[in-house]
Symmetry: C2
Subunit: 290 residues, 2 copies
């Protein structure tokens, strides 16, 4: 687990700054958005943005935008995934899910508005900190990762999987979209934003972007099968109860662990092209081994 650190405090303050003021109308909507985003989560995706962007010497004033954007997209997707019509989860990060704390209509709108806010934040990267055509490419990459080729498509495949058994190939496709796409974008967007600075090889980062997304999900599946509720922030064993295919149910625990180890080895290998400046990225990879 990532310890509470300076970066976490920074990310929290950046999100707080970009989120609409709870005192401005419609207050309930703004409160629901803030409830779902602030004060929880490991901030894995924004951490990837900073770790990758700092590798190229990009300033935080620039990185704050994509870092917040990927977390806002993540938060929106969690709110909608938890809805009664979707996964019907009453808890999230150890507290009532958004539609339980507010109501369904408010939760739907809060998710909607968080998605919009992500694109608002991305398109307001300060003039001059980066070429506008690079920002546009980054906006496009975020949209691709969020849409039916990514997050939304992955959630749809996941819903369909409840009534239809998945094989390993289909499960991998599902998670490369549902979890992988946004993890991948969190690494690729800073690369896009640094067109003049990328002296470091880009290809290993592209490999890392893909492998880390898969490692992320395999580890989540292992945790769901083995951890207790406190570690998980929700009830464990939910996958098995819902008869949902996971890397553990399809491969067994041992083989899933082997796959995770292989994924992580590929991530480490991709980072071997870099020196000590890649330490924050390495520690985000090792976090998945923990």
């Amino acid at each position: 687990m990532i310890a509470r650190d300076e970066l976490e405090i920074h990310i929290e303050s950046v999100l707080d700054r970009f989120l609409p003021d709870a005192a401005r109308p419609p207050q309930t909507l703004h409160r629901a958005m803030r409830y779902a985003v602030l004060g929880g989560g490991k901030r894995y995706r924004p951490r990837l943005v900073y770790a990758t962007g700092r590798l190229f010497g990009l300033p935080d004033t620039l990185l704050d935008h994509p870092a917040a954007a990927v977390e806002l997209i993540h938060a929106y997707s969690l709110i909608h995934d938890d809805l009664p019509a979707m996964d019907d989860d009453d808890e999230r990060r150890g507290k009532p899910s958004c539609h339980r704390a507010f109501n369904e209509a408010t939760a739907i709108l809060a998710g909607d508005a968080l998605q919009t806010l992500a694109f608002e934040v991305m398109s307001s990267i300060p003039d001059g900190s980066c070429p506008p055509e690079s920002v546009l490419k980054a906006v496009h990459t975020l949209a691709e990762a969020t849409g039916t080729a990514g997050l939304a498509g992955g959630q749809m495949l996941d819903l369909e999987a409840v009534s239809r058994p998945l094989d390993l190939e289909a499960l991998t496709d599902l998670h490369l979209r549902k979890t992988g796409a946004l993890i991948r974008a969190s690494i690729l967007i800073p690369v896009l934003l640094a067109p003049d600075r990328v002296r470091a090889p880009v290809e290993p980062l592209q490999r890392l972007a893909r492998d880390l997304g898969l490692a992320f999900q395999i580890r989540d599946d292992i945790l769901d099968a083995t951890a207790d509720a406190k570690t998980l922030g929700r009830n464990p064993g939910g996958d098995e109860r819902q008869h949902r295919a996971t890397f553990v149910t399809l491969l067994g625990l041992e083989e899933a662990r082997l796959r995770l180890a292989r994924c992580l080895a590929q991530c480490r290998d991709a980072l071997s092209a870099f020196g000590p400046e890649a330490a924050p990225l390495r520690s985000l990879v090792e976090d998945r081994a923990g």
Copy 2:
């Protein structure tokens, strides 16, 4: 009513081209998105984009992107507004609403993915047809119009209004967000995309953008109180049944008609700065008088 014409056929083909192929997985999600967008609606917002953009000589290859984007945002908002947790409408444009034709989870995701697609389409305006910093400003304007200061905020105020009586000022604020913001963006985005071509005065267009949004809603309220189901594409009198404040319930039918006439007069006045090249915009204004 706007007759079926060449532009309608063009808009339909542009939307068809930007929407994901129904044969690609996840097929059900792609089918739901296409169901909600294609084959219906007056396409008022994309018509505004073309009418304004052509005034500055912008090519259709460029305008196709914002025209599709505003319609995709509109379609996303209708799907989510119709959900059981929101307005709970079974019909839309004379056919079953998206969650009735598919199911709730699919409808939520289809709306989500249509919003994303709008930003994907906006950020993929072809290189060289327009300065990238102008495209970024246009993306930002679309996001502002869609978020809590616009569409999503307006829908939240609308939901809250069911249990809380609104006065005229609050109702106007609600509709400047819920309907007005996207109408406004449909005029302002082409202006932003034409920084080198805007020889025509911009200020009247900004006034038009605001007044037309309000005219749009006042006329909808009048129609809801007076038209039959066939003209409306849904059951009329819904506002009154839901004890929802409208310009008609607050002002009475006569005064609402006077306000609409005043709004439209301001729109005509704003367009008096232009010559015959503004005929398409004028006819979109007159459509609201019909």
